[in-house]
Subunit: 442 residues, 4 copies
């Protein structure tokens, strides 16, 4: 058996036990020989805590996987087969600002496809592109599997501004939607298939099949009936959809669509949440503190129950299934972020989309849908414009471009308010945005 080396950048994340558990479960098919957990100086302590926990998990499973903990990214990347990225520049403190500052101007922060997401992108994309440069040199054939949000903008940036073509963006939203639809239908998940298409956190379920029969209308009915089940995720309030709207739409929106189709109510809910339990980042900070306390326990060698509060349901499944199918050329169907190449006609061929793909050793091959339904094309295109302009701003550090990205975001109600949020956030994140400040100094 040859080498199979996996590198996880942001290895000190509280999520790491999820993915380690996933690798352990799939060891028969996916015989990993080395797992490198990489983090930066600021995350050293967390890396050690969670890394030791990972080592205990592997040891307990009795598997010959070498777990390495390191701050030396280049050493880790050397000859890697898969590189997963789950880091967070500026940690949860930065996310808290992404959420809080827009709210001051009565704007939802939305840490992925909103003003907060723009700043997360501005901080993250330069780091990802640096990793890509290292990969070109150290492991040019490896696959980059990115979880770091905004995953759509990040994938777009890698496709457009790096030479790494082996990149996949991953999200647990589609798999969660499928499981919730299955529950609505009272069926096991494996009997349900959904044609997903759109962008990251802007994906629609276009058709639902139960045992191959199209049951989309039934699902739309059940979603909007009085005894409907919850169809959202831990971080997004489960506000009800207007039944007539959903029936007119004839497609299943993802939980994040509430930000765009229910903007006023979501804003109200977020303002209230911020005043009470705190924004999502602030809540998660508490959860994380507790988790790391647990991870420190030298007797703990399994993923603790409490991790589920963190919000990453199916996260490990998504990552490990993808890596497994690439490694073993499984040619099964998974929903990932990849280059469009004609699969959705109104989106440029060279842009990233989120879509059902056949997963092969040669990467994901999108199953084309022709085009998105007319009613959703506008909003999807708007987020794609936002992702592209945002990615450009991250690379150029150009103020006008960044303001443009902020202004065209569908959550931002005017160029003036965009400028206020922009200026306050630029200042707040100054430390992590050298591309903008170097320019000004020069």
């Amino acid at each position: 058996m040859g080498k199979l080396k996996i590198v996880t950048i942001g290895g000190g994340s509280s999520y790491t036990p999820e993915i380690v558990e996933g690798f352990i479960k799939r060891y028969d098919e996916l015989p990993i020989t080395e797992l490198w957990l990489v983090d930066v100086e600021a995350g050293k302590e967390k890396l050690e805590i969670v890394g030791n926990m990972a080592k205990r998990m592997v040891e307990k499973a009795g598997l010959p996987i070498d777990v390495h903990l390191t701050l030396d990214r280049r050493e880790a990347l050397k000859d890697a087969d898969f590189v997963t990225t789950q880091f967070r520049v500026g940690l949860l403190d930065a996310r808290a600002k992404d959420e809080r500052i827009p709210l001051k101007y009565n704007v939802i922060g939305q840490e992925t496809n909103g003003p907060g997401g723009l700043f997360k992108g501005l901080r993250t994309i330069p780091v990802i592109l640096d990793i890509c440069k290292d990969m070109e040199e150290l492991c040019p054939n490896a696959w980059l599997v990115n979880f770091t949000n905004p995953a759509g903008m990040v994938t777009e940036a890698v496709l457009r501004y790096s030479n790494i073509k082996n990149v996949v963006g991953l999200c647990n939203v589609p798999i969660m939607m499928k499981m919730q639809v299955a529950e609505l239908l009272g069926a096991d998940g494996d009997r349900v298939h959904i044609d997903f298409a759109g962008l990251n956190h802007m994906v629609f379920g276009l058709n639902v099949y139960l045992d191959g029969e199209n049951v989309t209308d039934t699902v739309l009915d059940k979603m909007t009936s009085d005894d409907k089940k919850e169809m959202t995720m831990r971080n997004i309030k489960n506000l009800d959809w207007e039944p007539s709207f959903i029936k007119g739409l004839k497609a299943i929106p993802c939980p994040y669509h509430r930000y765009y189709y229910k903007t006023s109510q979501m804003l109200e809910a977020e303002l209230e949440e911020a005043d009470n339990e705190g924004t999502r980042a602030e809540v998660v900070q508490g959860v994380e503190r507790d988790l790391f306390e647990l991870y420190k326990d030298p007797n703990l060698a399994h993923k603790p129950e409490q991790l589920s509060k963190r919000g990453g349901a199916y996260y490990s499944d998504a990552a490990c299934s993808l890596i497994n199918s690439i490694y073993n050329d499984k040619r099964d169907i998974q929903t990932v972020n990849t280059i469009n190449n004609g699969a959705i006609q109104s989106i440029p061929n060279d842009s990233a989309i989120e879509i059902n793909c056949v997963i092969t050793k040669d990467g994901p091959k999108p199953i084309g849908i022709g085009d998105l339904p007319v009613p959703v094309r506008g909003l999807v295109q708007q987020i794609k414009s936002f992702e592209r302009v945002g990615a450009e701003a991250a690379v150029t550090g150009d103020y006008n471009t960044a303001l443009l990205a902020m202004t065209i975001n569908p959550l931002v109600p005017s160029d003036e308010i965009a400028k206020k949020i922009m200026d306050e956030m630029l200042e707040a994140h100054k430390e992590h945005l050298p591309q903008f400040f170097k320019k000004i100094e020069a």
Copy 2:
């Protein structure tokens, strides 16, 4: 010299003297033999007042144009060469509701591409499609030149739901933008050329040329400098653009773009206006009353000065130039609404767009631009989705489809608010929306 018959539906409009003046000015090239002004029973009185004024204008000019006034649309359409439409179902009262009702929910009405425009479309499209059916039978080779708003949605509906292919949608926005840009540059209009592309009331000036030299950057600078000139139109408040946003955008927005890029300030301004001088419809009602008083004067035989307050600057120029160029196969360049056919790549080939065209006897031939700039594609696509879903709702009378159109409009902040506006407006316009109420009764 043969017959040249022009039919103006909504002939009782206060605008009619504009277009009559235009025809008189161009008589040498465009030797109209018959001008039929058509209106409905409810507009009979206005038709007579303005129609008699038109007759006096023609007589004063000493031209052999037969001016006919009629309520019999089919008689008028028989063997027509050009049919212009400028009618308003429900008159200005309906527009006032289109503007007032959304404001109750803190939403801008926007009588063309907003919630108000949706209802204007729902009232107008069935009538236009009826006219098309008559044209198929009575004047199948005539050109339909439509001014009735929402001109984009109406043109889309004609292309999609009628057999009339000879249709052009017209708007005075591009020509006004050109004249204002010329003024900014201190140059005559005929030295300036602008590459226009987008949708009706959603059109961008992509490049500006002065004597053929690209001066776009200069224009963007001047537009946002301290001593800038007014760049809007009578019905849209001249709020300043954020200079960094415009410089990032690298294109000239049209006045209507303020509704989407300055939504919060425009809403504030409209709320205040509604509380004080009244909405635009209410102001125009006053202007119209005054105009019709003037038109009654049997000695008045020229377009009165006061008509310019009405807001249709260059309206006559746009219409008469278009008709002239089609009639005479002039092959000059004008900006009109026509079928895309590949001119803008991210918009479906069979959709209506607003773009520079070579105007020939065989109709407008779009000058392709490749694609719209990335930053504006999303918003443009969103209005296109709105236009298509709105047109479908107008034809089907389906409540869910209409609510979908309302919800996806970029000015509407949630599905719930959409439903409230929807339900109140449906009731308010019940008389003019039989397609929705027949269904319910059946």
Copy 3:
């Protein structure tokens, strides 16, 4: 267990035992309850011979499949689940003319994508469209699985001129190419995957994977090395490819590509063959006579060895696998003819292509390739033009359109020669081309 009714039109074909054997082998997954073999009056005797043989095969297998033989197509179609078409208008005599007449003018007949194929299309398409009309009425949800050649032109015609959208065109070329490539590589077929794309009998293997690794270059080398294996099919002479050409092409041509890339040698070979053993149709007529003698044997209850000479290797596999995957929503990958819908960019979205698809209960979902390699786009497009113009001629019976199709075929060297072949073939096939002759009489 419910009903599963399969109808085979052209049931009297000598191929029928192949498909019956396939159904028997897959009975566990595909529990057919009724198999209807349909033929026309002229094929009655063959239908009885082969139909009785089919009954014996089923009986021997001990399966509860009702086998029906009928000349009443409408009775058979009622409530069918799958309809397969394998009929031949005018039988092999007509094919012999398709091959012989063009040769008189030094033109290859090519019974699928050549002049012969045009006439086969002209005879076949009206019948297929009739079947589609019956299906609309009698089994609107059934799947039409068409084998009748020219399968590309026929699928194009069904997509364009009928209301049946559940149509798949099938061919054994891709599966045969895969098996031959596997043999070249010394590997089992299931370790090999090929990205197929193009049109029927105009399909290319764009990439070859062995256990997921891209081995395309190796295959191109082996195909053109001195100890290469045969890579063709029974009906196409195995002329060697010019190694430099294949290496420049960087893709695996299908056996039929020899007609276009080796036209002069193929013509020479066909002329010689016609002079000696006879054209392919004439050879097959002998084979068929022998087969029907065998089928008459009341003790024969299995597919005879000699059937393999007929040329339809993997034919049964292709058909039964497809039906099985649709019926069971298998979501495996098969190469079929289906609507493009963006999978190949330089071909219109609404045209038929041959491409790898995920096969679902909702039909084949193409796996997009972006676009075909530049060097092959022209030839592929040329055959697509030929298919579309040919299909139009079949429907309209317009002489000029038919001559146009003949002239643009890449095997036909001039409009004059096209006209000569056209006129002679029209006369020869008069009996089966009522659409052309009714017109002339009227």
Copy 4:
């Protein structure tokens, strides 16, 4: 009045007096200050003869145009405004080989879109790309107006392999077709408009308008009636079209289409011609000798009558009109080779096409046609594939790629014959194809 500097590369061509005459005629609008005629050492004598003639013409016209003759291309290019290219690598001797060698294998040479054209491209493209490099440095804003054939492949190569975006390919075929159609209609040329679209020497007249009325059917009738007029050009035999074919086609082919739609007859005619008066190159060599004798006459100061035998009718009009319209931002419509950008949908956006354009100071803006008629898409695409693969071969000097281009050319009947022609021509043109032979030596 500023400087207006025009550089003509290949200035020693016998055509030069045509273009000089054109400039003189348009001097009022196009006040050229410097005209630089550039040639290579081998063309020095001709340059002097024709250059002195040009000086006499300018002097006689009494215009202040400085005419410079030089072998120093870089000196000439410095600060040029327009660069026209009309050079011929290897002179007419090379063309004679391009025509003769394929004929040995019963293949038409066709010096533009045939095997001969491939070799002309292989010789020319490296030189053009060198000129582009010089232009980038010495006159980056100048317009490159290329006449050198194969103009389609050359324009494609410039768009794809240089940084010069201000390039237009020019041909006199569209203007000649228009004049011949006008003659057919008995009308002046300026009353006729034709919608041209396709590729260079592969262009179709899609619609013909007389005074704006669509008269295409009349033209098709007249083209194929018994008393038709000649519709070809000096170098292409006027073989009649099959009337039914043309009526099926519903478009006007260009003279060069005879090579593809009448291949067998054209081959026969060319073989006969080669045996008798010689190939076109050989005939032209005689014409040129006579012309240069005339040009030597120090009293000759006007374009001699005999130049019309050379074949470049309207050549000067095409060039001078284009330059004039760019210089003066005329926005009139001319047919040129430029980047597609969506004007013809089945051709890639970044490829060169020949199409009607609005000619502006910012270059040609194509008037989109949607897509080419179905019947011609295949052949057009085939030549586009040929152009692209040929251009790639010219740049890379790769033998396999060149053989691929040769094999996919529609005039070449097999890969084996392609190889024979290829090998003989490579050897014959060795001197001018260093990119192929350096490789072999290395």
